[in-house]
């Protein structure tokens, strides 16, 4: 913050400088001054943001909701697995043909229940993204309103396994089992 005398000094300097400027230079100076005012206004707006609503209410609520989705799908998947195990236990008492059909159907259900793992990992990625957004918002506002700043975090060193752990891939980034088999075979 400038003291009153400093402001007067700067204004005097500006007047002195402007008196020696041509029209283009004066226009440029005015534009710069306008930009400076805009930046100052933006700083004030950012400093006045109610960041605590974002990091104390909205984001935790969003992550809680997502955690609940994961829990609900896990509960549903486990319920389905309970039923499958009951059906498997009935197999010895069934006619061979019926037992085979039950075995095939139960296997297909097991395979399908893997959805819970995949969706859980995808939701985990969203939760991590939300946490990063929260951190960035707090860091940005903290620059202009120091009271909202979080203490600086130092990320611990990551292993190769952690660095490459990105969860399920989407679209073209994902390799199929056949592509992975071919890749592994290329090393033999």
């Amino acid at each position: 913050m400038l003291e009153p005398m400093q402001k007067v000094d700067r204004a005097q300097i500006a007047l002195n400088v402007m008196s020696g400027l041509n029209k283009t230079e004066a226009t440029l100076l005015q534009e710069l001054e306008a930009l400076g005012r805009m930046v100052a206004a933006a700083k004030e707006e950012i400093a006045a943001m109610r960041v605590e609503n974002v990091d104390a209410t909205h984001l935790p609520a969003a992550t809680d909701e997502l955690d609940e989705v994961v829990k609900s799908t896990a509960d549903a998947a486990n319920e389905i697995l309970d039923v499958c195990e009951t059906l498997e236990n009935l197999q010895p008492g069934l006619a061979p043909e019926a037992a085979d059909i039950v075995a095939v159907c139960v296997t297909r259900i097991y395979e399908a229940c893997a959805f819970q793992d995949i969706t859980g990992q995808r939701i985990g990625k969203v939760v991590n993204a939300l946490k990063q957004i929260e951190q960035r918002v707090r860091e940005t506002t903290g620059r202009f309103a120091p009271s909202a700043a979080l203490p600086a975090r130092t990320a611990p060193p990551r292993t190769e396994g952690e660095r490459l752990a990105n969860g399920p891939q989407a679209g073209a980034a994902a390799s199929s089992q056949a592509e992975i088999d071919a890749l592994l075979a290329s090393f033999d």
Partner: protein
Amino acid sequence: MDKSTNVLIVDDYKTMLRIIRNLLKQLDFNNVEEATDGQEALSKLRAGNFGLVISDWNMEPMTGLDLLKEVRADARLKALPFIMITAESKTENVVAARAAGVSNYIVKPFNAETLREKIEKVMAHA
């Protein structure tokens, strides 16, 4: 293929552990133990006598890749068949796992036939 072998399955999703256990049971593997991260798995492997590891990648505090590296660095465990079952399907992940000595790699979602085929393959080379 010796189906009496002890199998350790490692995944931080309990549902996935249950699915893999049930699929192994269908393949007549009945000696199955579970761990929910790499560190717990490593403790069990060092304390026990296992013939096959089936591990997820993305776990805390120790990932499947880091578990694999520990296994390959351990004189007693280094030849243990190790199958990675993971949603990590990028080429760089497969290459890193291969460099670390993975026996085979299955991408999620997978089917029972793929699991059977990869187990047969790695056990044949064990």
